[in-house]
């Protein structure tokens, strides 16, 4: 276990159905592989039906709370851009936002534009905008693996203090056989970004 890392706090934000819990499971397993303590928190049921959702993952030497505190996220993983903006509750000046360049429209109301969102996020932390959904759609004809692409990328670019090898091991552990090949291809695709 790397001794210098005391703790790392991740909040994943997105909409119900984007596979947040799978991503949470993969990161948690990868952290356990590397010998960290890990705790996570997620929501099920009504809150999962297409509304705003957030998942919390914390790992490090000693972890108590399963929830990330206000302003204490090291990384906010935004699977949808408007939801990423909601994630600022957990951000401080050092927080990195790793964003999927995708806006899922909320029906019958005025939605925010990409420009508005980016302008505001940049006021706070460092923003890394990745066309994950678009890239996956082009390559695999589906964007369901956009989140896998993002967490893989995060490990290759050191945005998450977990080795790429731990992430791919965790993908093999968590993803069902039927979808494993697609997910591993996505992992490899993120390496060449």
């Amino acid at each position: 276990m790397p001794k210098n890392l005391e703790k790392f706090n991740i909040v994943i934000v997105g909409t119900g159905g984007q596979g947040l819990i799978t991503l949470l499971q993969i990161i948690a397993e990868a952290a356990l592989f590397e010998g960290y303590e890990v705790r996570t928190s997620e929501l099920h049921g009504l809150s999962q039906r297409g509304g705003s959702v957030e998942a919390h993952i914390r790992f490090g030497q000693k972890i108590y709370s399963p929830l990330v505190s206000q302003g204490k996220a090291d990384l906010i993983l935004g699977l949808e851009m408007q939801e990423a903006l909601r994630g600022i509750y957990f951000a401080n000046q050092k927080t990195k936002f790793l964003l999927n360049k995708q806006i899922i429209l909320i029906p019958l109301v005025k939605n925010l534009t990409e420009t508005e969102i980016l302008k505001n996020l940049k006021k706070i932390g460092k923003v890394i905008l990745i066309p994950a959904a678009e890239t996956c759609q082009k390559e695999f004809n589906t964007n369901v693996v956009a989140g896998i692409y993002l967490i893989s990328l995060a490990s290759f670019k050191n945005l998450i203090p977990l080795k790429p090898n731990s992430i791919s091991r965790a993908i093999k552990k968590i993803i069902p056989e039927k979808y494993l090949e697609l997910n591993l291809k996505t992992f490899k695709l993120a390496k060449v970004y």
Binding site: L32, S47, R49, S52, P66, L67
Partner: protein, 558 residues
């Protein structure tokens, strides 16, 4: 779930409960799904054959508990799981069960949902029923404790012949963390035997009053057990501060307290209560007797705080007790709330310059509410109803399931929502109250449509439907037959056609004496719209069974 002992694997709190039950040698499990308890049943459903135990999704939580009582009376080690509201449904069976006591050890899981993430109807604090029922309640704070406390609960039940509740909350049930596995105990012979013992199993006066005396005596004995139990644990702080300040907490709040103390670099003594009922009163009194101030960190209603106020009267009358004067009584606690509260309590200056003041932002992020899945058949039902009637002129009754989203945009078809099955019961009352008896032959001025799912109909809708027939009212009831318990994760229910020889809802409806009945796939919009119009004019109760499978239900013969 059936992995080898010695390993540390990441488990969800609910999965850890299952593992704890397996390590205890559980033999009989029943449940009705409800968030945040659903994964307990789902996991047993997946492994019951391999684990060689009996498992069932029961029709509702009362029936699930009654099944468990029968299994316990027959000597089996039994677990029953439900969400908080389910415990309310089961309460009528629970109270006498505590009087008779258990034969096979029995553990009941009751899951609360502070902040109502996945719960309509109320923000319940199920700990309160301990006073009503006299039932031991344990509160784990993480997955490891979910497993350990489940095993302890079986031991307590075995030793004192009483059912024991494990009360979780969303942040415990849906928390993942590594759990150290121990050995799974083989369930052995899962065929029990009911040995007649009316003295024990029949609650009737005058015997029932003797039973109550025996129960209260049992609780006194369990209190002694609680006094010595390591799950009520004290961590001593540094001597310099520990003489003045202390913290008492339980459940997930304990984790926030530890996080806060680490964050603030404070070392206060903490009493973590694993038992909510019966409380280790002497241990608490010993803990508080030297302090000037004590902070009680608990979610929702201040049950612990009230108990500690009482205990302080003799142990330390000058003690200043802090709790709900600093912490919210509505909504779940969060680590940042607990940190700032402990800082205040300990007169510690908290640096907050790094926190962003979001409320000062001009930008409005539009709210994203949950909605029906694309392709959900309920879109068709709500669409047809809107075409058939002027929604402003009709009362819409809601019930518990995905279709409660009728209350949100773009549907807005929900004028009341309460508990499971109540759409029909309340509809009857509204119809009787708004239409005088003299007008019984007419459809009445205020028309009313209720939406109720198939699983909810089986759960609690049938007695209410019978009441509309027996006491003559005329709501239009639309049974949303999507063939599954969708909201909680697509668990099976007793209905056809997915269950071989499943029960047909139309046959129940007919048997209840309903004459106006149509079964329509809402894909046939014209037919559906006409049926709604026709039935709203009837002077007797009408039922439309809107039959179309949930998009997550695999078509059988496709």
């Amino acid at each position: 779930m059936l992995q080898k002992p010695g390993k540390k694997i990441i488990l969800l709190g609910n999965e850890a409960i299952v593992r704890g039950a397996l390590e205890s040698g559980v033999q009989f499990v029943s449940t009705y799904p409800g968030t945040p308890a659903s994964e307990i049943g789902n996991t047993f459903f997946r492994i019951d054959k391999r684990a060689k135990i009996y498992f069932e999704f029961s029709t509702n939580e009362k029936v699930a508990l009654e099944a468990a009582i029968g299994a316990s009376f027959s000597g089996l080690k039994t677990l029953v799981a439900m969400k908080n509201f389910g415990t309310n449904v089961a309460l009528d069976a629970l109270i006498p069960f505590v009087y008779t006591g258990t034969k096979g050890p029995t553990v009941i899981i009751s899951a609360d949902d502070p902040s109502c993430h996945s719960s309509a109807q109320s923000e319940e604090n199920t700990r309160g029923i301990s006073y009503l029922v006299h039932i031991p309640i344990l509160e784990p704070s993480d997955p490891q404790e979910c497993k350990d406390f489940t095993k302890l609960a079986f031991k307590i039940s075995e030793k004192f012949k009483i059912p024991v509740i494990i009360r979780t909350t969303t942040r415990v049930a849906h928390q993942r963390a590594p759990v150290k596995l121990s050995k799974v105990t083989k369930p052995g012979n899962v065929i029990g035997e009911f040995i007649k013992d009316p003295e024990r199993f029949v609650t009737m006066p005058p015997r029932v009053l003797e039973m109550k005396k025996e129960l209260l005596k049992k609780i006194e004995e369990i209190k002694k057990f609680s006094e010595k139990s390591p799950i009520n644990q004290i961590s001593r702080g540094r001597a310099s501060v520990s003489s003045k300040l202390g913290v008492i907490t339980s459940g997930v709040s304990y984790l926030y307290v530890r996080e806060a103390l680490k964050e603030l670099n404070l070392n206060l003594p903490v009493l973590k209560l694993g038992f909510f009922y019966p409380l280790p009163e002497k241990k608490i009194q010993n803990f508080i007797k030297k302090f000037k101030k004590v902070l009680i960190v608990e979610e929702l209603e201040p049950y612990l705080e009230k108990e500690i106020e009482r205990l302080a009267k003799t142990a330390n009358p000058k003690l200043q007790i802090f709790g709900k004067n600093l912490l919210p009584e509505v909504g779940e606690l969060k680590p940042e709330i607990v940190t700032s509260t402990i800082a205040k309590f300990a007169n510690y200056k908290l640096k907050i310059e790094n926190l962003l003041k979001i409320e000062n932002w001009k930008l409005k992020i539009p709210k994203r509410f949950p909605q029906l899945c694309p392709g959900c058949p309920y879109w068709l039902v709500f669409g047809a109803v809107k075409k058939a009637v002027d929604p402003k002129k009709v009362i819409f009754g809601g019930d518990i399931g995905c279709y409660m989203l009728a209350g949100l945009s773009p549907h807005f078809l929900q004028d009341y929502l309460s508990c499971m099955g109540s759409s029909i019961g309340i509809a009857h009352g509204i119809k009787k109250a708004t239409n005088p008896a003299s007008a019984i032959a007419s459809a009445g001025k205020q028309k009313l449509i209720t939406f109720i799912g198939d699983s909810t109909f089986f759960h609690a809708g049938i007695p209410a439907l019978i009441n509309t027939v027996f006491n003559k009212s005329n709501p239009l009831i639309i049974v949303m037959e999507n063939q599954t318990t969708a909201m909680t994760g697509h668990q099976p229910h007793p209905g056809a056609p997915l269950v071989p020889n499943g029960i047909k809802i139309e046959e129940i409806v007919k048997a209840c004496g309903v004459k106006n009945l149509k079964i329509i796939d809402p894909i046939n919009q014209e037919e559906f719209i006409n049926a709604v119009k026709e039935f709203l004019e009837k002077s007797e109760v009408s039922v439309i069974i809107a039959t179309h499978p949930c998009i997550f239900v695999a078509p059988k013969n496709a």
